[in-house]
Amino acid sequence: MKKSSKPYLKKRTNLSWLLDFRLKAYKAWLKMEEPSWATLEYQKIDFQNISYFSAPKAALNSLDEVDPEILKTYEKLGISLEEQKLLAGVAVDAVFDSVSIKTTYQEELEKLGIIFCSISEASQKYPDLLKKYMASVVPVRDNYFACLNSAVFTDGSFVYIPPNVTCPMELSTYFRINALNTGQFERTIIIADENSYVSYNEGCSAPTRDESQLHAAVVELIILKDAKIKYSTIQNWYPGDKNGKGGIYNFVTKRAKCLGDNSKVSWTQVETGSLITWKYPSCILKGDNSVGEFYSVAITSKRQQADTGSKMIHIGKNTKSTIISKGISALRGVNSYRGLVRVSKNAKNARNYSACDSLLIGNTCSANTYPYHDVKNASSIVEHEATTSKISDEQLFFLKQRGINEENAVSMIVNGFCKEVLQELPMEFAVEAKALLDLTLEGSVI
């Protein structure tokens, strides 16, 4: 990667401003060091050995041109594009090996002035919007992995909702990591202009593989006056075998900026996959009365490790934030909540409520909570609650005595534990999430 990087970066774009952006990021990245503060243990990543770009050979105009193998994978996952098209109200921008193949519902969205396309398309068609907002929430030098992404990002999704428009359908992107040893460097930018609303679903899964894969995405949300974005994620990448072999490394930077007054952002995530998860969806509450929410379920089983949480940065007056985090650990899983609540000097009457609950299954897993508070305004109220509990044998016995088998009993207790978060998910996602929880915990009770 370090040698002859310019020709490689050039291959990704013919736009000089974008190439400059990448090169600047690349130079900055060379001077940065991989962070080591997270409660994560993993082998050092060999950045020379990562494939930074893999894509289908040519741009495709219709589904007929899609590689039948790729279509087959979609079908196996139960979300073929054909099917997706028919699904009520869901537009799909499918990212397969980093390059968008097909976007549906484009026309209907276009009528409302909504832009939903790949970043590469946006760089051609809407360069001004892209230039204005890209890296406006996550600066190029923000952190090691975001900086790497800025240098080598392959593609991703771009969404713009014009003023006073409520997006009539859930927008969905399915990410698939499918090529051998391919690092994934997606970038997502969503802009909700004044008084608009959009709900965006990001769902992931990856087939079984042998070598660890790095994923370092950047997601930026920009919310203007009176607008609202709801961003929901189901992350189900390959967690590796029982020893963690082949699992995916997921280092993601997700951040929202509530720029305008009365703006609102809501992050909901269900993290069941990956070997390593490093992820802190955050909210910068700049506008007065803006609201940030973070609802999270993270499960670690086998050898999975998750260091995840949220940052709430209160800048505007009367800003409010909520953090509800549910961590579940089983087998040899390690689950850490890491959160920061910062109230700046001018954030009068800021209000935060955080609740972090951990559930342990068995005796070989662990859970940590690292809440950081930095409060500089005396009129603000910051509350933090944390609990750790174990699925008790008495609870399991009670349910079994009522005829429910062990697996279903565990599932029932876990789903009950996560209820506050799961009810924030869009309907279809909620069903999928329940299935994923069960799948992840399969065989975790001995």
Binding site: D393, Q395, L399, Q401, N405, I413, F417
Partner: protein
Amino acid sequence: MLEIKNLYVSIEKNDILKDFSLSIKAGEVHALMGTNGTGKSTLVKSIAGHFECNITQGEMTYNNKNLRELDPNERANEGIFLSFQNPVEIEGVNNSYFLKTALNAKRVYNKQEELDGLEFLKELKTKLKEYKMDNSLLKRDLNAGFSGGEKKRNELIQVMMLSPDLILLDEIDSGLDIDAIKTVAQVINSMLDGKRSLLMITHYDRLLQLIKPDFVHVLKDGKIAQSGDHTLAEELDEKGFEGLGLHNDKNN
């Protein structure tokens, strides 16, 4: 229906039941009494397959099936219901969702079709009406934040919905006022149809005046020291365990 022969049970290396035998036939009502620590709860827990109960010797069959070979959920689906002294609380699990799951687990076990949401609610309504119970507990989470009385009432709703063949009641009357005990008796009595069997643990004659037992057993040092009819319970109520020489030697 239930045959227990020469049963030895220990909990954490303490021998609790020693050479215990009991036979319960279909339709019979048995009461089990005795001072604290004689093994009453251990007995019903052993029948249900509780993880703490370590059976070292003896036989336990239910409808000619070896209970020791069945998982707790299989025993439940075979028709054994244990009402707990202190039912556990499970937050986030809706009470009626739990009840529907339990009922359907039993139906699947018995190769019946599962009930959907509507059918379940219909069944629930019918049962609640039949036993004159209200549905206020069903919207809440399973036993979460319930008072002692509410937990017991919830156990009653479960027993009537699951309609087991053998009901084990572990001190269902403890901590209940007289009106609540009457409700318990009313539900249990209306379930006793001459085929169902009942084994109830109690310290007081009060419950036994409302649910008339065919047999009263007094447990002492891990086995039955005396059996009789209802008059034994009345005598105990009058004279106490010590008066009849039925107190637990180990505790005194």
